[in-house]
């Protein structure tokens, strides 16, 4: 938008000079040669005559307007500098080229603005300017990464908040400030601010959304439910105890009385009498369908059954009622059993279930525990190791005796140990016997997570610096016909060979043959190196 011709303008043509003569009240001077003019017409002619070829009229007019405006402001106000940024100045800019316009003071939406219509008349002059940066001859834009020399072309504005000088682009922001130049979204006055103040104000980059915790409501509701449930289960458990006591008594009686099996009819009648003494049974005729599954009862097809704990009529399907061993601690499978509806069963067995489940532990848990253990040790040590590597990489030569080197190799050793443990764990997980599909999925996920963990964390291990030339280990290297490697280096190679082999297998499995070719080549290379290095040693 700015024409290159315009760069011929003197750089500080726009900065108001306090010593500019007063007769320039109208501020008419040619923007190019600063020759004084008496009126617009003369200037116009002058521009046509003297500068016609050099100028893009629009840009020239823009800068001329600015100069004129500033000069007017400078002479009008006793403190020349303070007035440079009045609203009128901004208006002129926005009309011509700046495109930046402050919001009017009154904000219809905000109650404060609506309540005080005179806010519209308050200019940003009421905001303190005590902290403003002093104008100099060679000011630069204070925005990081900009640093342009401020001139009439770049614009020159004080950020009303931090007080530093900025160019047009980096000060085309506005926010509400209080008279002490602090952000005040409610009653503040719209002020020009810089990019930094705008973007770094509180809450601007907030990306954490709202959430609402409903746990309390839930817990309150659940407490009521659990309380009634406890009462209920107490009641049912008591009935169950009573029943089992009666049965036990009956059994003892029966066994002593007759050794032969009782007649079916009389036994059933007897136990029914026993059961009905504990809870009153619901009348069959009142119930035409099972209350749980809403299936119709029939004379033969879907028979009615009574729950022995609540006395309700339910059907005999597995989901609605089932037989429950009467003696809770009874291990015999052929002990006395009673029919219990699904609701009662859940209530009665609730506690037992809970104990049972927490007791049984899963075989994945120990694997996971050791996984966490190794991971956390690695996470603790690896940054230290990497830090050492960083400090050593800054040095030209690292001595073998260097304490950092020694420490690093010690760290490295334990890290290696942990990594190989993790690797072993991964293998163990793969072989872990399981019949359930879900567990298989969990195991696969665990395995995958170990592999990615190893891949992302292991590579710095290979970055141990080469030990300096006078390093002691390969003392006989000069005498030997083959360059011998120290065992550490050999170990590194072997380790790499293992890694590459892994990659290769993986590539083959995924049928990425071009990758595999490259990998195989590398593998051969490695083998050769190992042979070369390892043979004499």
């Amino acid at each position: 938008m700015s024409s290159p011709r315009l760069q011929r303008l003197p750089r500080d043509a726009g900065s108001p000079s306090a010593d500019s003569p007063l007769y320039m009240a109208e501020g008419l001077s040619c923007p190019v040669c600063e020759e004084e003019m008496t009126n617009l017409g003369q200037l116009n002619r002058h521009l046509d005559d003297a500068h016609q070829t050099e100028f893009d009229t629009k840009d020239a007019l823009v800068s001329w307007f600015r100069t004129a405006q500033r000069k007017v402001a400078a002479t009008a106000a006793p403190l020349g500098r303070a007035a440079t940024g009045t609203i009128t100045a901004l208006r002129v800019e926005s009309v011509i080229g700046g495109g930046f316009e402050l919001n009017p003071g009154a904000d219809v939406a905000s109650p404060a603005g609506a309540g005080a219509p005179q806010a519209a008349l308050v200019s940003d002059a009421t905001v303190t300017r005590a902290h403003w940066q002093k104008d100099g001859a060679n000011d630069r834009c204070s925005t990081e990464g900009c640093g342009k020399y401020l001139s009439i072309r770049t614009g020159r504005h004080h950020c009303r908040k931090c007080g530093l000088l900025h160019c047009d682009t980096h000060s085309s922001y506005q926010m509400r400030l209080s008279p002490s130049a602090l952000p005040d979204p409610v009653a503040g006055i719209w002020c020009r601010v810089c990019q930094k103040c705008y973007k770094e104000r509180e809450g601007y980059r907030d990306t954490i959304g709202v959430s609402r915790n409903k746990t309390n409501v839930f817990l309150r509701m659940r407490k009521n439910r659990i309380d009634t449930l406890l009462l209920e289960s107490n009641k049912l458990e008591k009935r169950l105890e009573k029943l089992s006591a009666l049965y036990a008594e009956e059994e003892a009686n029966g066994q002593s009385a007759t050794g032969s099996p009782m007649l079916y009819g009389s036994a059933a009648a007897k136990s029914r009498r026993l059961e009905q003494s504990v809870v009153k049974w619901e009348d069959d005729t009142h119930v035409s369908a099972c209350p749980l599954c809403t299936k119709q009862f029939g004379a033969f097809t879907n028979r009615r059954h009574h729950c022995r704990l609540c006395g309700r009529v339910v059907c005999g399907t597995n989901t609605c009622s089932s037989m429950v061993g009467l003696l809770v601690d009874d291990t015999r499978s052929n002990g006395p059993q009673i029919r219990v509806c699904a609701d009662c069963k859940r209530v009665v067995t609730r506690r037992a279930e809970k104990y049972h489940d927490t007791a049984s532990s899963n075989s994945i848990i120990p694997i996971y525990r050791s996984l966490v253990k190794y991971k956390s040790s690695v996470d603790e040590l690896l940054p230290k190791f990497n830090g050492l590597l960083m400090t050593m990489s800054n040095r030209a030569v690292v001595e073998y005796e260097d304490s950092d080197y020694q420490l690093a190799s010690r760290y490295r050793k334990s890290l290696m140990e942990w990594f190989s443990e993790l690797d072993k764990l991964g293998k163990r997980i793969k072989l872990h016997p399981t019949s359930s599909k879900t567990t298989t999925r969990v195991l696969n996920a665990l395995h995958l997570s170990i592999i990615t963990y190893l891949q992302t964390h292991m590579f710095t291990l290979q970055l141990m610096p080469k030990v300096g030339a006078p390093a002691p280990p390969p003392k006989d290297s000069a005498t030997s016909a083959f360059p011998t490697m120290d065992p550490a280096q050999l170990a590194v190679l072997q380790e790499q060979r293992k890694l590459v082999q892994g990659f290769l297998d993986d590539a083959l499995r995924r049928r990425r043959f071009e990758d595999a070719a490259a990998l195989r080549e590398s593998l051969d290379e490695l083998d050769r190196e190992i042979k070369l290095g390892g043979a004499p040693g």
Partner: protein, 591 residues
């Protein structure tokens, strides 16, 4: 104002608050929400070892895992959770942290409390991650016909179910971004007004939730209606993201390539996500030409790496190779993906002569040049080497542009289409869209600026500035609206406030497009954000359209209105293949 970050933050908070091995249970909708912002590897890193659907009844007991349920509180999800909590044969959760996207009804909490006899639920939270984020500045609600039709009976009545879904989605988005906006809507759209007033009511109802830090000036929520700009989704787009969506189709960040000739097995379905794919992030808004050179340098980069890895000469090379290998493999997969995609795009462009089509489309949309365009159009509509869909689109653009023009030749064009063997059902789409978003529907605004002298002059000025690229001349209607909005000069008569008002220049703008946004518009938003650093704009829509899904939505809606003409359409389309009937209908519409 970054919708992707907002969802990610919710998810992170949810997952990292629970330590140890975790299961993540989700329903269909939350699964797609999460898959847009996080990969499985990222979940694994946070110790989520099992991801499952909440309505899966085949799960076994897994008491050693802690469970996080992230579901929308729909009837089905709550029911599934109730089953989960009740039935001891299924998973009994050691610890359960139920998270709900969007607001949870009291009755639902009660139902859950009622069945949680084993006291496994530890916490219930409402998280407002109830929208799908595609780019940091683009989200949608995945609401479109036929599963979620917008209208019932007529064009100004919302479908109740869709309406509540959209309201919830927008409220959630506002809460996630912490915005309490002033709501403006497109006046000509009854749907927009209804939605605006409902949102305003809901925000008041949820008072304490919307109690945020006071901004300097209230953010603006601008509700627009797709039917006021039917042109943008019909145009061929030439930027990467938009093109992939138009020519292949992106569903939940995934692109299905299984229909391509000789595609490699691992490329059947690829993921396009600017979060994880840096090449895509850099080039999603590039046009075809720039994209070509970009992908070439990408391949070169890959090849140099490949070469260097193939020529391992020293131990140092070797070391470097081993270190780089995982990164290299990732790169190799990515290169193959983008080469396949771009290859397919250029194949389709070449085969369908889409460059020619695109040029004419732009001319129809932008220039007022009836005679010349009609001539070219007639020739093109006949050509069978151009895909049917493209020819339908061209006819449609013409029909929309010259709908009220006395020289309108739409019926003849439809004739030509029918003669060249295009099925009646497809031809009927023209009528559908005219009904859906024709001049009578658009009311307020002058989309093509061919009515008044002022806008004509403006157009002429645009022409004088010179055309950079014949394929990208058209600027969506949305852009002009937003530019005025940024200046604080959006006209109250066209975009009234539902409540309150402000003359200030907005600093945050959220645009919501009823009837679906497009990737072209997302691109424009991205440009606007770059041009105006003091303003942040986010675009949302009921869905993200390409021309096909837009046409489908239009046809579906028109069929649903069931007016006399609607019935007519389905009769002719379904039973008798009578092009005569179609012509009669379109004549009537065209006149």
């Amino acid at each position: 104002m970054d919708v992707t970050k907002a969802v990610q933050n919710y998810l992170n908070k949810m997952i990292t608050e629970v330590t140890g091995m975790k299961v993540l249970l989700m329903d269909a909708e939350t699964t797609s929400i999460i898959s847009m912002v996080m990969t499985q590897t990222q979940l694994l890193q946070r110790e989520v070892y099992l991801i499952d659907r909440v309505d899966n009844t085949q799960r076994e007991k897994m008491r050693h895992l802690k469970c996080i349920c992230f579901v929308r509180p729909t009837g089905e999800s709550v029911q599934a959770l109730v089953e989960e909590l009740r039935d001891p044969r299924l998973v009994l959760l050691y610890r359960d942290l139920a998270d709900f996207s969007n607001t949870l009804k009291k009755s639902d909490i009660e139902r859950l409390a009622e069945v949680d006899e084993n006291e496994v639920v530890r916490e219930i939270q409402e998280y407002y991650a109830d929208f799908l984020s595609i780019n940091p500045e683009l989200f949608h609600l995945n609401v479109s016909a036929p599963s979620h039709p917008l209208f019932v009976e007529n064009l100004s009545t919302w479908d109740t179910r869709t309406f509540s879904r959209v309201t919830e989605g927008i409220l959630a988005m506002l809460l996630a971004l912490k915005k309490k906006p002033l709501i403006r809507y497109e006046k000509s759209s009854a749907l927009a007004r209804k939605l605006a007033s409902e949102l305003s009511y809901q925000i008041q109802q949820e008072g304490p939730l919307f109690d945020f830090r006071r901004p300097d000036t209230a953010p603006i929520l601008l509700i627009m209606d797709r039917r006021n700009d039917p042109v943008t989704p019909l145009l061929l787009q030439w930027t990467y993201q938009a093109m992939v969506h138009e020519l292949i189709g992106i569903t939940n960040g995934r692109v299905d390539l299984s229909g391509l000739p000789d595609v490699r097995p691992e490329m059947r379905e690829v993921v396009l996500n600017p979060e994880q794919d840096s090449f895509y992030r850099k080039s999603m808004y590039l046009n075809m030409g720039d994209l070509g050179s970009n992908i070439k340098s990408y391949v070169d980069e890959y090849q140099t790496k490949h070469k260097s890895s193939a020529q391992v000469e020293s131990i140092t090379d070797m070391k470097k190779f081993v270190e780089d290998y995982p990164e290299f493999r990732k790169l190799s997969g990515n290169v193959t993906k983008h080469v396949t995609l771009v290859g397919e795009l250029s194949r389709q462009v070449g085969r369908g002569h889409l460059m020619e089509v695109g040029e004419l489309e732009q001319s129809l949309a932008v220039n007022d040049n009836h005679t010349q365009d009609l001539k070219t159009l007639r020739a093109m509509v006949e050509r069978t080497d151009i895909p049917e869909d493209a020819r339908i689109r061209l006819t449609l653009l013409y029909a929309l542009r010259y709908e009220k023009s006395p020289q309108n030749a739409t019926p003849q064009l439809l004739d030509i289409l029918a003669r060249s063997g295009v099925s009646d059902k497809k031809i009927a789409l023209v009528g559908h869209v005219l009904q859906y978003a024709g001049a009578d529907q658009r009311l307020g605004e002058d989309l093509f600026s061919n009515n008044n002298v002022f806008s004509r002059t403006k157009n002429a000025f645009k022409g004088l500035q010179g055309v950079e690229n014949v394929y990208t001349q058209h600027v969506p209607h949305l852009v002009e609206t937003l530019q005025e909005c940024i200046k604080g000069k959006l006209r109250d008569q066209l975009y009234p406030f539902i409540e309150g008002a402000s003359r200030d220049k907005p600093q945050d703008i959220i645009v919501f497009m009823i009837g679906g946004a497009t990737y072209a518009e997302a691109h424009e938003i991205n440009k606007l954000n770059a041009q105006h650093p003091a303003v942040r704009i986010v675009l949302g829509g009921t869905s993200v359209h390409n021309s096909q899904s837009f046409l489908k939505e239009a046809a579906e809606s028109v069929g649903r209105w069931g007016g006399a003409s609607g019935k007519n359409n389905s009769n002719t389309g379904g039973k008798e293949n009578d092009p005569q009937a179609e012509r009669v209908k379109s004549n009537r519409i065209g006149a």
